[in-house]
């Protein structure tokens, strides 16, 4: 029975892809408006002749919005992107970010792990626990336990090719890629040992996505003891304070850039 169901499901998917291959009639939609984006990024990210165009579908809206601002304002560098965004308002960039954040598309299979097992093991360790000696927090502490991102501003780390991940960490180390201050990722990328850059990207690129691949909501802050007289519980373990990360808030309607 399950086999039959999945057969129909695949048939459904196929028919969907056949329908989209036919010449698309004009529709007054965001998908139509943003053909300039999907022509390079594809539906699920795509390798281009001059590098990798990462997947944008399903990434958190705040993250996408901030990246659009970074490209427009020179904190990230890619000529074609900057050129396209030059004439767009903050409000429209946020609309575009919301549109892509809401897309729910399947992820491709992860890349085959080619790194030696000890490298992958080191990568797994960094992702889960970080490197206390170098004061590198665990990836999972900000990007979500499942590494699928945390709304509104933290992207997932899975489903991306290793070259792209390495390029981003490298760009952060050299200052080519920046975020609004405090630029936490730049700091972390600089603290990482060169071998660890390789290990963590090898692990992330080969890690399959969980069934539920959407970004999760941020964890609620720990409850504060309210009643006087009652002794507060001692903290379980002395965890380092979380890093602060700068991000632009969504635009306020009616504001002028």
């Amino acid at each position: 029975m399950r086999g039959l169901l999945s057969f129909f499901f695949i048939l459904l998917l196929l028919s969907g892809s056949i329908a989209t291959a036919a010449p698309a009639a004009f529709q007054d939609t965001m998908a139509q408006r943003t053909l300039a984006c999907t022509s390079c990024h594809g539906k699920e990210g795509r390798a281009g002749p001059d590098g990798y165009y990462p997947r944008i579908a399903g990434k958190p809206a705040g993250y996408l919005y901030n990246q659009l601002l970074h490209f427009r304002e020179g904190r990230r560098h890619y000529g074609l992107m900057a050129n396209l965004l030059e004439t767009l308002s903050d409000e429209y960039l946020y609309d575009i970010a919301l549109h892509f954040a809401q897309l729910d598309l399947p992820y491709p299979a992860p890349q085959l792990a080619t790194a030696p097992p000890e490298v992958l093991q080191r990568g797994r360790e960094l992702v889960a626990r970080g490197d206390p000696e170098r004061r590198v927090p665990a990836c999972a502490s900000c990007h979500g336990k499942a590494l699928t991102g945390v709304t509104p501003n933290v992207p997932g780390l899975l489903g991306l090719p290793r070259d792209y991940l390495l390029a981003q960490l490298g760009a952060w180390r050299t200052g080519q890629r920046r975020a609004l201050a405090p630029d936490c990722m730049a700091e972390i990328a600089r603290r990482l040992a060169p071998d660890d850059l390789s290990a963590v990207t090898a692990f992330l690129a080969a890690e399959p996505l969980p069934a539920h691949a959407k970004p999760v909501a941020p964890a609620p802050p720990p409850p504060v003891p309210r009643r006087r007289g009652q002794k507060a519980q001692p903290p379980a373990a002395p965890e380092p304070p979380p890093m602060r990360c700068g991000a632009a808030l969504p635009p306020v309607a009616g504001a002028v850039r």
Binding site: P23, F26, A36, L84, L88, S89
Partner: protein, 425 residues
């Protein structure tokens, strides 16, 4: 022999004297101190509006930097000029300037210390701004939060980096002026002329420049290639380019207010002008500008349709196939476009312009019309720089310039290649 040498020296001395005279004659020293009282709220509001009309912020703000704090590099054929800090910081901005200094900068192109300014700052146009408007602009700027950011040294080649070269340039191409009302025209026309020729500095792009970056007549608006940008600002007087004499007035207003209109859409540098400047102007000012622009006497294009070369059948067919594959979904099989979303290509002046830089730009790099308050969610054109080769870009452009009744010369692969390689990122 000696006499000739003396004669030469004498001629040079006279020329130097003339250059000096053109630049410094009769200019009194300004000894005013910076104002100490804060500007009135009305003056600040008026100045803010005028700053929009002049689009001052676009050049005087670095990408991602503090507004008006300067630092944006402006490429010229002579090197890079960095826009100055206009915030009221006493040390690095204009905090120590007086209103008289500011007026002189706009009217005569000179800095607080009397240095000659580079005409990248369009004082060839702002010289027409009234004293009252200059004062309002100054009051607005000094109401901004001061930002401590030292101005960057320009990176110009010799001899362009010398004050002497600048003095010669100014003697050739600049006379301080003031806007003269034309009593034979309506007040509305005069207001439009004042905005277009003064603060709006439309002619800075829409007028051709010679090899020295000078213009014969700063106000002719007959179209020009924007230096270093590979964009052509079309003639506002030629019916074959971008004249609006036969447009309904409301369409001109709509184009300036929203970036799009039934008769055309703005892209590239003009989209930035609409985004940052004209969309904020009051309807009556936009109407005045439209009245003035519609009154420009028509100048015929200089191409004879009988002499237009045609693309070879091979190129044309190749272009047709590429068009079908990449363009027809949006622009239509007959180049008819989609109203309100994608411009038609058939019978579109932007497609048949004799200068093809803009077409190559748009096909290679794509773009969006400006996202304005009146047209907040425009449809975008994808970039094809990574998809199509130079020969393919040339073929598809040659096709759309020759199909559906369009009659314009083809574009060569070399043209596309040159433009692709000259792009600065």
């Amino acid at each position: 022999m000696k006499r000739i040498a003396w004669l030469l020296v004498a001629v040079l001395a006279v020329l130097a004297g003339l250059v000096w005279m053109f630049n410094f004659w009769g200019a009194p020293r300004i000894r005013d101190a910076a104002p100490t009282t804060p500007p009135s709220r009305e003056q600040v509001a008026r100045g803010a509006y005028l700053a929009r009309a002049g689009n001052c912020m676009l050049c005087h703000t670095e990408r991602g930097g503090a507004a008006y704090a300067g630092g944006r590099p402006i490429e010229t054929p002579f090197g890079t000029v960095y826009a100055g800090n206009l915030t009221p910081d006493a040390e690095t901005g204009i905090g120590s300037w007086s209103a008289a200094h500011f007026r002189r900068a706009l009217h005569e192109g000179r800095s607080r210390d009397g240095r000659l300014l580079y005409p990248v700052f369009p004082y060839t146009h702002t010289t027409h701004v009234t004293g009252a408007d200059a004062d309002a602009l100054f009051d607005y700027l000094r109401s901004l939060p001061p930002v401590h950011k030292p101005n960057r040294q320009h990176r110009l080649r010799w001899p362009y980096n010398t004050q002497a070269a600048l003095a010669v340039w100014r003697a050739l191409y600049f006379r301080p002026g003031q806007y003269m009302q034309d009593p034979s025209r309506t007040p509305e026309w005069n207001r439009g002329a004042y905005l277009v020729q003064g603060l709006g500095h439309c002619g800075a792009c829409h007028t051709a420049r010679n090899a020295l970056g000078g213009v014969r007549e700063a106000m002719d608006l007959l179209g020009g290639l924007i230096p270093m940008q590979n964009w052509y600002a079309p003639s506002l007087a030629a019916p074959s380019e971008a004249a609006v004499a036969d447009w309904p007035l409301d369409d001109v207003v709509q184009l300036l207010a929203t970036g799009t209109s039934p008769r055309g859409t703005v892209l590239g540098p003009m989209a930035e002008v609409v985004l940052h400047s004209t969309q904020y102007l009051e309807p009556r000012d936009l109407r005045a500008m439209a009245v003035f622009l519609r009154s420009l006497p028509p100048v015929p294009g200089d191409t004879d349709p009988r002499e237009i070369p045609r693309a070879s059948a091979v190129v044309f067919d190749r272009g047709a196939k590429l068009y079908e594959q990449h363009c027809a979904d949006c622009h239509g099989k007959q180049g008819q476009g989609v109203r309100g979303a994608y411009p038609p290509l058939a019978g579109n002046r932007a497609i048949t312009l004799p200068v093809t830089q803009n077409l190559v730009q748009v096909v290679l790099h794509g773009g969006f019309p400006p996202a304005t308050r009146g047209h907040p969610r425009p449809f975008g054109m994808p970039p094809f720089a990574t998809v199509l080769s130079d020969a393919e870009v040339a073929a598809v452009i040659s096709y759309i310039r020759g199909a559906w009744g369009n009659r314009a010369a083809p574009v060569t692969e070399l043209t596309v290649a040159q433009q692709r390689s000259s792009r600065r990122e």
